[in-house]
């Protein structure tokens, strides 16, 4: 069936001009996404896990998506390998003589800007609309044992010590370095006056380095969110004697945390550790405690909205990093086969644009979600 005139819709693409472009991947990818969303909603309902029996189906959905990506890649991997590259350039103003796919990528980035703007707007709306937990604590308008709604920014936990900031800071460096390595990969792919083999190795190494840094980013994020990390002995004294840095999860910063407590909002703890925390003398709480009208205690807070905006925004960024990892997997593989030559090196540039955008978003997310 698959001969010269009917290139397969599953298999390697026929790059000759005028050949049909049929592909099974759009159909299968859409099917996979539908299955995934459907089964995910079956595995959880309003935050309640519905049992491990539902989980395999979610993986079926992911598997179908993965399969469609394999088909997509199988069709594309031969692009540019034999030197025949059809990278059309724009014909009309105002983008004339620019690669069409580059223009398309910038259009895509415009829509991604709107995605992150929406997420930031949500965060802004809630951050400025719900009173800050510190403010509420200091106002004294709380009673021990009853939850108050307040906004606890993740920065309160993360920016509390150098150790807590470490994963986020390392992640920032990692992304910046990865932005640099992807540029290096492009540079070597485009270089005309080097040996084929040298180019192949360099490009593969730089793409692989980018891939590795992206994985590192997600790993550190998981450590920050869920795992925490232990500290070596000699650092314990700088960490109030604790032997490990707790993850956000362990600190109780969860999307369903309606009775969150932190020792910064515990008057007894503050009294016992006056070097670490203090109640400002001009605050209402101080006055009330002096006057004896407030018994003090450990304030309980409903921080579901704070945690939600944090996890979903940084999680969306993380999902985009993950998408980049998927792309990088394909590209590293292709590079290892010597698939990138000066003719088709622009493909790396397109990915690079996406990757720099991810870095740009992180430049905004890091200070405003982790540090502020």
């Amino acid at each position: 069936m698959s001969g010269d005139h009917h290139p397969s819709a599953w298999g390697p693409h026929d790059w000759r001009h005028g050949a049909p472009h049929n592909s099974w991947s759009p159909f299968i990818l859409s099917l996979g996404v539908a299955i995934f969303l459907f089964t995910l909603a079956g595995a959880f309902k309003f935050g309640e896990f519905q049992g491990w029996g539902k989980v395999p189906l979610v993986f079926v959905g992911l598997g179908v998506i993965g399969f469609s990506l394999l088909v997509w890649w199988r069709q594309d991997i031969s692009f540019g390998v034999n030197g025949e590259v059809f990278e059309p350039k724009s014909a009309g103003t105002p983008f004339q003589n620019i690669d069409i796919r580059k223009v398309a990528l910038w259009m895509f980035l415009m829509s991604e800007m709107m995605v992150f703007t929406s997420l930031f707007s949500t965060y802004m709306r809630y951050r400025f609309g719900i009173p800050n937990c510190q403010t509420v604590f200091e106002s004294g308008e709380w009673v021990e044992g009853t939850s108050v709604i307040c906004f606890e920014p993740a920065g309160h936990l993360i920016a509390s010590s150098w150790f807590h900031i470490a994963p986020g800071a390392i992640n920032t460096f990692a992304l910046i370095i990865s932005s640099f390595t992807i540029v290096q990969a492009l540079r070597y792919a485009k270089k005309k006056d080097i040996d084929e083999d040298v180019r192949r190795r360099k490009v593969t190494r730089y793409l692989g380095a980018t891939w590795f840094l992206a994985i590192l980013f997600l790993t550190l994020k998981m450590i920050e969110w869920f795992l925490g990390f232990p500290l070596p002995e000699f650092l314990h004294e700088f960490n109030h004697g604790d032997s490990s840095i707790k993850s956000l999860y362990a600190e109780g910063y969860l999307i369903n945390a309606d009775s969150y407590q932190h020792h910064a909002y515990d008057t007894h703890y503050i009294e016992a550790h006056p070097n670490d925390y203090s109640i400002p003398e001009d605050s209402a709480l101080y006055a009330m405690m002096q006057a004896g009208t407030h018994p003090g205690g450990h304030m309980m807070a409903d921080i579901q909205v704070s945690a939600t905006t944090f996890y979903v925004t940084t999680g969306t960024h993380g999902a985009h990093v993950f998408g980049g990892i998927i792309g990088l997997s394909y590209m590293t593989l292709k590079a290892a086969k010597g698939g990138y030559t000066p003719d088709n090196a622009v493909s790396i540039e397109y990915f690079g644009l996406y990757w720099h955008f991810v870095d740009l978003v992180w430049v905004l997310v890091f200070p405003f979600f982790y540090l502020y």
Partner: protein, 778 residues
């Protein structure tokens, strides 16, 4: 290998048929579903024909609220006088109330009685049944157990017992037909429509080559359609899908109109009604209007630009295929009877509450896929129009339909991420338990309103602007002159595109949003009518300066001008916050948006169908049927939606499943005439719905035996008319020198003077000139 495929197909069909045939269990209010099927399990499991159960004392038909003394008894089986235990019974009545008069029977609930310990050694019992107060179909199901009394025997005394059952039905003084379940009606109609669609497609394949009608040829043909990235095939796919869902949305509308035909109707409960208007809105906007726009755009944009295909063909295919699967997700709710009941606007916090049906989660998930689809479409078309125009075709030489698709896609892909983020928030809230819209945790429902309408308002312009484009093309061709004021048309479109983003607050005037924003929005909304008005006057001027030829597409364009203008005028009552407070959520809104959406968008589509059908299929549509379609549809459409303005002013509320009329001026009730108008609207609705089948018939007839279409049946002069009807797989145009190839726009002076203004000059300096490309510098 193909036989395996046939076997596979048969297996799948058999499996589907088996699943459909599975019996379903009936559950009772008391929750004892087993009793109906298999008798009372406490006494063994052997039904026997030798046991005969009977109910005495029931009349032929009951009188309202009368009490009847019933004797339930049985004969036969191992039960004997002198046994310690002789028998038992269970009686279920679907309507009315049961009661007991002695200690031998007990009442489980008002629909079920059974025996007691004290009463299990007899073979007949008396119970009392009170008939319902209204006309009902009543079913009685009696199970009896004939017990052989061996209390010491196997199974705790149950071995050897036999049971039996009898069913009796009766009605009241007036015979009642069984009420139709609206979801069953909808489901059946959808399945019927889908089957008809499948049969039609198979028939189309057959007609192409009757001799080659076998699986060997059908599988590759189908695979080609499923995997194609050709803009023409994808355009057809979008179009067929869009038309199908237009019909499905219409079916939902008809069911809604049946409910509203008379006051106090109970065909749909409020709960069911909520699902119907939600799905009607979502289907019409996202599964009918948007795909049909994409169908026209996919077909015509590359042709009009003189491009070989879109910029990203495989992504284009992806955009399409996300849609049918999204539709599957959205409709899972319908087929389960628990569809989304939040309104197509899905307001928070109801949309994330446990009270909203769980179809809402799938409704959100499907729409997330549609957001992805629209984003990819936007990127594709923007890129194509920016980079793949024919040589000589500058921005200001593009046809107006292309401009309209450009502006629509700019609005779409910049606004839809807000909707996507909102939907993801809703999906996460409902699935993972995040707290975006959890009021108790401090969530803000207005956030959803902002995100939704930030998208929602540009969205309604997205659906109307392509119709503007179609109308420009049609009126120009029909008037045999180019559109008056091309430049102002372009600027008006661009103006609509930008201002659309700052008017969305007018959907939220009564929501308690910021007062300053309300004021700003009032002004901007009044402003946005101006560019549209400019367009309408330009169309009128085009016709005035031209010489109108009346074809069906012309008629639809003229109809559009009338109905869209009326819709626009009725819309101008809403910017005034004071008026909006009165008219919000009334039928005035319904009238307004149906005038602009159906009278605007859909009439534009009809015009486009009659205009471009010959080009796309190579066959002419019948003009006679077209005129008939126009006359019946246009008249019935206006009869359908015009009276809704009056109903809205009287105060008839939208999204309520019923309404009441009264001769007094009570709040919440409508005057007596409202009932008559509603019936009139329902009848007109049915007429409008069925009149559109004339178009469907026209399309089918044209495909089978329509006359062949020339390259340029209407005398149009944009690029699509320079190629054959239908265009070849790789589009080729007939050039001036008689050869076939890709065209250039030679005479660029057609529309405007060619001297660049200061904006163009400044822009020129930003461009990459031909001799400065990377290739040249390396």
């Amino acid at each position: 290998m193909l036989r395996n495929r046939s076997k596979g197909a048969i297996v799948i069909l058999v499996a589907i048929a088996a699943m459909l045939a599975l019996p379903s269990a009936q559950s009772l209010p008391g929750g004892i579903s087993g009793v109906q099927q298999s008798g009372c399990n406490c006494h063994g499991a052997v039904p026997s024909a030798s046991v005969v159960a009977s109910i005495d004392g029931l009349p032929e038909s009951y009188n309202y609220s009368e009490q009847y003394e019933l004797t339930v008894s049985f004969q036969g089986g191992p039960s004997q006088e002198g046994n310690v235990n002789q028998g038992g019974f269970h009686l279920w009545a679907s309507e009315g109330t049961l009661s007991v008069s002695d200690a031998t029977a007990q009442l489980y609930n008002e629909n079920e009685v059974g025996h007691t310990d004290a009463g299990n050694d007899q073979v007949s019992w008396t119970v009392t049944w009170t008939a319902p107060a209204t006309d009902r179909n009543v079913d009685f199901v009696l199970h009896v157990n004939s017990v052989n009394g061996n209390a010491d025997g196997a199974g705790g005394g149950t071995s050897g017992d036999m049971w039996s059952k009898v069913t009796v039905s009766l009605g009241g003084p007036i015979e009642v037909l069984e009420a139709a379940d609206p979801f069953v009606v909808l489901g059946v109609l959808i399945i019927v429509s889908a089957s008809l669609l499948a049969i039609t497609l198979a028939y189309v394949f057959y007609r192409k080559d009757p001799d080659a009608f076998d699986w060997d040829n059908f599988a590759p043909w189908l695979a080609d359609w499923l995997t194609s990235t050709d803009h023409k095939k994808i355009g057809t796919l979008y179009f067929v899908a869009g038309l199908f869902f237009l019909g499905v949305g219409g079916i939902m509308a008809m069911i809604i109109r049946i409910q509203l035909a008379v006051p106090g109707n109970d065909f749909l409960t409020q709960e069911q009604y909520n699902q119907f208007f939600t799905l009607h809105g979502t289907t019409m906007i996202f599964l009918a209007a948007m795909p049909m726009i994409n169908g026209f755009a996919n077909w015509m944009i590359p042709l009009q630009l003189g491009a070989a295909d879109l910029a990203l063909p495989r992504i284009n295919a992806m955009s399409f295929w996300l849609q049918p699967f999204a539709a599957l997700l959205i409709f899972t709710g319908v087929f389960s009877g628990h569809g989304a009941d939040t309104g197509w606007t899905g307001y928070a916090p109801y949309v994330v509450s446990e009270g909203a049906h769980y179809g809402t989660t799938m409704w959100a998930a499907g729409q997330i896929m549609l957001v992805a689809s629209s984003t990819l479409t936007g990127i594709n078309f923007l890129t194509t129009m920016a980079v793949m125009r024919a040589p000589g075709m500058g921005w200001m030489q593009m046809p107006l339909f292309s401009w309209s698709i450009l502006i629509a896609n700019v609005m779409l892909f910049l606004s839809i991420p807000a909707f996507g983020v909102g939907l993801i928030q809703v999906y996460l809230d409902r699935v993972v338990g995040t707290a975006f819209y959890d009021i108790a945790a401090g969530g803000d429902p207005l956030l959803w309103s902002h995100l939704f309408w930030y998208f929602g308002h540009p969205e309604v312009y997205v659906v109307i602007v392509p119709s503007f484009g179609i109308i420009s093309e049609v009126i120009a061709t029909s008037s045999r002159r180019s559109v008056f004021g091309y430049r102002s048309m372009v600027y008006a479109l661009a103006g609509i595109g930008i201002v659309a983003f700052i008017v969305y607050g007018h959907h939220m005037f009564t929501s308690g949003m910021s007062p300053t924003l309300r004021f700003v929005t009032m002004l901007t909304t009044m402003l946005v009518a101006v560019p549209t008005g400019i367009k309408i006057f330009n169309w009128l001027m085009t016709m005035h300066g031209g010489s109108l030829v009346y074809r069906t597409h012309t008629l639809w364009a003229l109809g559009f001008l009338v109905t869209f203008t009326l819709g626009g005028i009725s819309g101008m009552f809403f910017p005034s916050i004071a008026m909006d407070t009165h008219l919000h959520e009334s039928y005035f809104v319904v009238a307004h948006f149906h005038y602009v959406l159906v009278g605007g968008t859909v009439f534009g589509f009809f015009s486009g169908i009659y205009y471009w059908w010959p080009k796309a299929t190579g066959k002419m549509l019948s003009e006679k049927l077209g005129v008939l379609h126009f006359l019946t549809a246009f008249v019935s459409y206006n009869a359908l939606f015009w009276p809704m303005h009056r109903l809205g002013v009287w105060g008839m509320t939208r999204r309520h499943h019923t309404y009441f009329v009264t001769t007094e001026e009570a709040l919440g009730s409508l005057p007596m005439e409202a009932a008559g108008w509603n019936m009139f609207i329902t009848v007109s609705g049915f007429l409008f719905f069925f009149s559109n089948f004339i178009l469907v018939f026209n399309m089918i007839a044209s495909s089978i035996r329509g006359e062949d279409a020339p390259d340029d049946p209407w005398g149009g002069w944009s690029f699509e008319w320079m190629t054959t009807s239908p265009p070849p797989a790789h589009t080729l145009y007939k050039l001036d020198d008689g050869t076939w190839g890709l065209p250039t726009l030679k005479d660029a002076n057609e529309h405007i003077a060619n001297e660049p203004g200061w904006l163009s000059s400044w822009f020129q300096r930003l461009l990459v000139s031909d001799d400065e490309t990377e290739e040249a510098s390396h």
